[in-house]
C-alpha cells in the first residue's frame, strides 16, 4: 500500500525532517507512528497526503508514485484518504454536519445519503447531538472528534491520523482507537501518529519509531 524509498524532506532552513527513510506498509495494516516531538511524524503524513513534496527519494501509494499524479488525479487520490489533522482544520463557517458532509457534497452524493452517512459517523464519535453546532462552539476534544468523523465519512482506503487523540481523555481515546480498529478490520489501512506509548501498548498494534527523521526500528 505505502512504499517509501530513500525518502528525505528538507524544509527551507536546511532542517532534515525526514532523512533517507525506506519503509513499506502493507494494505490492511494498522500501524502506529511514534517518536519524540520533531521526529518527522507529521511530515511523513503530510507527504502521504501530497501536502508536501519529497526533497529526495520516492513515495508510492497503491503502486503509484505520488509526485507523478496530475492535479486532478491528486485531488481524486486525496478524496480516498481520510486525514485527521493535528490541528483539526475544520471550516469555521460550516456546521459540524456541513464540515463532515463537505467531501460528499463536492462529490455530488445525494442529500439523503449524505445525511445518513454523516449521522452515522457522528454517532460513532459520539457527537450526533452537536450536528448543528459551529466548530467554535465545541471543546478541543469535540472538534477533534469532528475531524475524525470527517476523515471516516467517505469510506477511505487509507486513514492517516495525526495525534487524533491528543485532546481526548484516556477512555474516549481508547474508544476512538477501537473505532479505528473496527474500520481497519474491514480492510482500511490505518496509520496513526502519536507520542502516547501507553495507548499504543493498550491497543496492542505495531509501531514504527521515528527519531530525527530516521527509522529507529520496530516495536
Amino acid at each position: 500500500m505505502i512504499e517509501a524509498y530513500h525518502l528525505s524532506k528538507v524544509y527551507s532552513r536546511g532542517v532534515y525532517a525526514l532523512r533517507d527513510l525506506t519503509l513499506k506498509i502493507e494494505k490492511g495494516e494498522f500501524l502506529f507512528l511514534t517518536g519524540p516531538s520533531g521526529a518527522g511524524k507529521s511530515t511523513l503524513l503530510r507527504l502521504l497526503l501530497c501536502a508536501e513534496t519529497p526533497s529526495e527519494g520516492q513515495l508510492k501509494v497503491g503502486g503509484r508514485v505520488l509526485t507523478d499524479l496530475s492535479t486532478s488525479e491528486m485531488q481524486a487520490y486525496r478524496r480516498t484518504v481520510g486525514f485527521v489533522f493535528q490541528d483539526f482544520r475544520l471550516i469555521p463557517r460550516f456546521t459540524v454536519f456541513q464540515n463532515v458532509a463537505f467531501v460528499m457534497r463536492v462529490l455530488g452524493v445525494d442529500v439523503p445519503t449524505q445525511q445518513r452517512k454523516t449521522y452515522q459517523v457522528l454517532k460513532w464519535v459520539g457527537l450526533q447531538h452537536r450536528m448543528n453546532a459551529y466548530p467554535e462552539e465545541l471543546s478541543g476534544g469535540e472538534q477533534q472528534r469532528v475531524a475524525i468523523a470527517r476523515a471516516l465519512v467517505n469510506d477511505p482506503h487509507l486513514i492517516l491520523a495525526d495525534e487524533p487523540t491528543g485532546n481526548l481523555d484516556p477512555d474516549l481515546a481508547l474508544d476512538i482507537m477501537n473505532l479505528f480498529r473496527d474500520i481497519n478490520a474491514r480492510g482500511t489501512t490505518v496509520l496513526v501518529a502519536t507520542h502516547d506509548r501507553e495507548m499504543i501498548r493498550r491497543v496492542g498494534r505495531k509501531a514504527l519509531t521515528l527519531e530525527h527523521g530516521r527509522l529507529a526500528g520496530g516495536a
Binding site: 497526503l49 501536502a51 492535479t71 486532478s72 491528486m74 485531488q75 481524486a76 487520490y77 486525496r78 478524496r79 480516498t80 484518504v81 486525514f83 489533522f85 482544520r89 475544520l90 471550516i91 469555521p92 463557517r93 463537505f102 467531501v103 457534497r105 463536492v106 455530488g108 470527517r150
Partner: protein, 294 residues
C-alpha cells in the same frame, strides 16, 4: 449539474454575508450598464431616424406669406422640370396648422390664441434618393433658394449628414465612457471577490487538502462575480426602463414627432438580454481573474 447548484449556493451565501461590499460592486456595474444602455437607446433611435430620413429624401420649400400666384406657379414649374424630382405637393398654411395641432395637442392652444397663423405654406418635394441624384439635388436646392417668393428651403439630406456625423461622435464618446465605466466596475467586482477569497484563505486550503476539485474551490468565486454583474445589469435595466417610461409621454414622443421619427423605442429584447449577459460575463470574468490563484 450539482457543481452549478453547489457554486450557486455558496456564492449566494457569500454574497449575502458580504452584502455591504456587494452593494458597492453591484452599484458600480449597474451605473456602468445604465450608461451603456442609455447610449444604446439614444443611438438606436437616432439610427432609425437616419434611416427614415434617408428613405424619404424630401425637400421642403417654404413660401413667403405674400407670395404671388405667378411666383408660386413658376417655383412649381422649376421643381417639376428637374429630373431628380419625383413629386411635388402643396401644403397650405391651414394644412400646416392642422398638422401642428395633431402633433402637439398641448401647444395647439397657445397657437390658436394668436390672431394670425404663424406657419408658412410650403411645397413638399419628394426626391430620387439614388447617389447619382445628389449633384442635381444640390443644384436645385441652391437655385430654388434664390427664387422670389421662397422664404426658406429645408433639405433633409443636409440634416441627415449632420445627424450621421453627430451619431458617429456620440457613439465614440458613449462607448468609450461606457467601456471605462465597465472596466472600473469589473475592477470593483474583482476586488470584492478577492476580499471574500482572502477572508476564506484557510477554508480554501482545507478544501484543497480534502481533495475538492479546483472547479469546486474556485467556482463559488466565479459565480459570485457573475451574480454581482448579473444583479447590477438587472438593476440597470429596471432603472433604464423606469426612466424611459417616465420620459416617454411628456418628452420623448413630442421630440420624436418634431424630428419626423415615427416612434421612439426602448431597447429591443435581444439587446436588453445582451446587456444582462454582458453583466454576467464581466462579473464572471472578474471572478475568474480574482480567484485564479485559489
Amino acid at each position: 449539474m450539482h457543481l452549478l447548484r453547489y457554486t450557486l449556493d455558496e456564492a449566494a451565501m457569500s454574497l449575502w454575508r458580504g452584502r455591504r461590499s456587494s452593494l458597492l460592486s453591484t452599484a458600480t456595474i449597474a451605473i456602468a450598464l445604465f450608461v451603456t444602455g442609455a447610449f444604446l437607446v439614444v443611438t438606436s433611435n437616432l439610427e432609425r431616424l437616419a434611416q427614415e430620413w434617408s428613405g424619404a429624401a424630401e425637400m421642403s420649400v417654404y413660401l413667403a406669406d405674400q407670395v404671388t400666384g405667378t411666383d408660386r406657379a413658376s417655383i412649381e414649374r422649376t421643381l417639376r422640370a428637374a429630373p431628380v424630382v419625383l413629386d411635388v405637393q402643396f401644403v397650405s398654411k391651414e394644412q400646416a396648422l392642422g398638422r401642428f395641432r395633431q402633433t402637439f395637442p398641448d401647444l395647439a392652444g397657445t397657437l390658436g390664441s394668436l390672431d394670425e397663423n404663424p406657419l408658412p405654406a410650403s411645397l413638399e418635394v419628394r426626391l430620387q434618393s439614388s447617389a447619382d441624384a445628389q449633384q442635381g439635388i444640390d443644384a436645385l436646392v441652391s437655385s430654388v433658394r434664390t427664387m422670389s417668393g421662397v422664404s426658406d428651403v429645408r433639405y433633409d439630406k443636409e440634416w441627415l449628414d449632420r445627424l450621421l456625423r453627430g451619431l458617429r461622435v456620440l457613439r465614440v464618446v458613449g462607448f468609450s465612457l461606457a467601456g471605462a465605466l465597465i472596466l472600473a466596475a469589473a475592477l470593483t467586482i474583482g476586488n470584492v471577490v478577492r476580499l471574500a477569497l482572502n477572508a476564506r484563505h484557510d477554508e480554501i486550503e482545507i478544501m484543497h487538502l480534502v481533495g475538492a476539485p479546483t472547479t469546486y474551490v474556485r467556482g463559488p468565486f466565479v459565480m459570485e462575480g457573475a451574480l454581482h454583474g448579473g444583479l447590477g445589469a438587472l438593476v440597470a435595466l429596471v432603472a433604464l426602463a423606469a426612466t424611459y417610461a417616465l420620459l416617454r409621454t411628456p418628452f420623448l414622443v413630442p421630440l420624436a414627432s418634431a424630428l419626423n421619427l415615427s416612434t421612439v423605442r426602448f431597447l429591443p429584447a435581444p439587446v436588453a438580454l445582451s446587456l444582462l449577459a454582458g453583466g454576467l460575463g464581466v462579473g464572471a470574468l472578474a471572478g475568474v481573474i480574482a480567484s485564479r490563484r485559489a
